[in-house]
């Protein structure tokens, strides 16, 4: 199965403005670069991982700064 289909099945939708795969309910976002550079099983593992903070989790190749996280949380809602 293609990585994009895995994300689609897990209710991730592509955000064209930000180039991210986003699941607002799970509060997780994958960058296109991260999806390109990681294997299917790694993507699945992160989709299934539990997050406890209540905030957003961003899967990026380069960790986003606090400012970028804040800005993304604001625009993603």
């Amino acid at each position: 199965m293609k990585k994009k289909d895995i994300l689609w099945e897990a209710d991730y939708r592509y955000n064209f403005d930000r180039d991210l795969f986003v699941n607002r309910k799970a509060k997780k976002a994958f960058s296109l670069e991260f999806v390109d550079d990681h294997r299917e099983d790694e993507i699945r593992r992160r989709i299934e991982a539990s997050t406890s903070s209540g905030g957003w989790t961003f899967y990026f190749n380069s960790d986003p700064s606090e400012g970028v996280k804040r800005e993304l949380e604001r625009v993603l809602g």
Binding site: Y14, F16, D17, R18, D19, L20, A29, S31, L32, E33, F34, D36, F58, F60, N61, S62, P64, S65, E66, G67, V68, R70, E71, L72, V75
Partner: protein, 218 residues
């Protein structure tokens, strides 16, 4: 009073600079046309050298500043680091050359004269990184010490392909955004570039093999 966004500041900076960007573009295009005149006069009937210029649009400039950041947002904590002036291709010229043989000649001709002698080389890799198109950036100091210009010399078929491909991939109206980063699209683009390059090389080989000077009419 609400804080000014980075986008608004960049937009103001861009439009303040626009008259200078236009001047640099015109200056760059004129020099390149002049320097390539001797090559133009010497072209065989099937050969072409075409000079095209463009002023980078605001949206394109903003997107280029955003592109390195995953998530496509400006970092509000680094607001002062973003500037339109960081872009090297605000004023851009493309020299399209057919066939490929003429490329080195144009590159050499331009590089040996001012103002390009000391410009920085930053070649474009295409066709899966196997080939490079010469690209340079720097200042036309007669016109501006703050706005940089850029010129590149490209095999013509690939250049025409890029015109369509870039406007679809990098200046999208919405639905095509992200196509430039899509793995499948990248693979297809590399295949097209390889095919076009092979066509040019094969044409050159054929033209050389079958070259016959036109017979003089009595």
């Amino acid at each position: 009073m609400p804080e000014r966004t980075i986008e608004n500041r960049l937009r103001e900076e861009y439009f303040d600079l626009l008259p200078v960007i236009r001047q640099v573009t015109l200056h760059l295009e004129t020099i390149i046309r002049y320097r390539t005149l001797s090559i133009l006069r010497d072209l065989k009937p099937y050969e072409q050298v075409v000079v095209k210029s463009r002023v980078k649009e605001y949206e394109s400039a903003k997107n280029k500043l955003l592109r390195p950041q995953e998530g496509d947002v400006f970092d509000p904590d680094k607001s002062e680091e973003y500037s339109i002036l960081k872009l090297r291709d605000l004023a851009g010229v493309r020299v399209l050359v057919f066939p490929h043989d003429r490329l080195k000649e144009v590159d050499q001709k331009l590089g040996e004269n001012e103002p390009f002698k000391n410009w920085t080389s930053d070649p474009v890799k295409y066709a899966r990184g196997f080939v490079q198109a010469p690209k340079y950036y720097g200042f036309c100091s007669e016109v501006s010490h703050i706005v940089q210009g850029e010129y590149q010399i490209i095999p013509m078929l690939i250049g025409h392909f890029w015109e369509v491909e870039h406007s679809a991939m990098y200046k999208p109206a919405g639905w095509a955004k992200g196509a430039d980063k899509d793995h499948d699209m990248k693979t297809l683009r590399a295949k097209v570039e390889c095919s076009l390059l092979r066509f040019e090389r094969e044409f050159e080989r054929f033209a050389k093999k079958n070259a016959q000077p036109p017979s003089e009419t009595p």
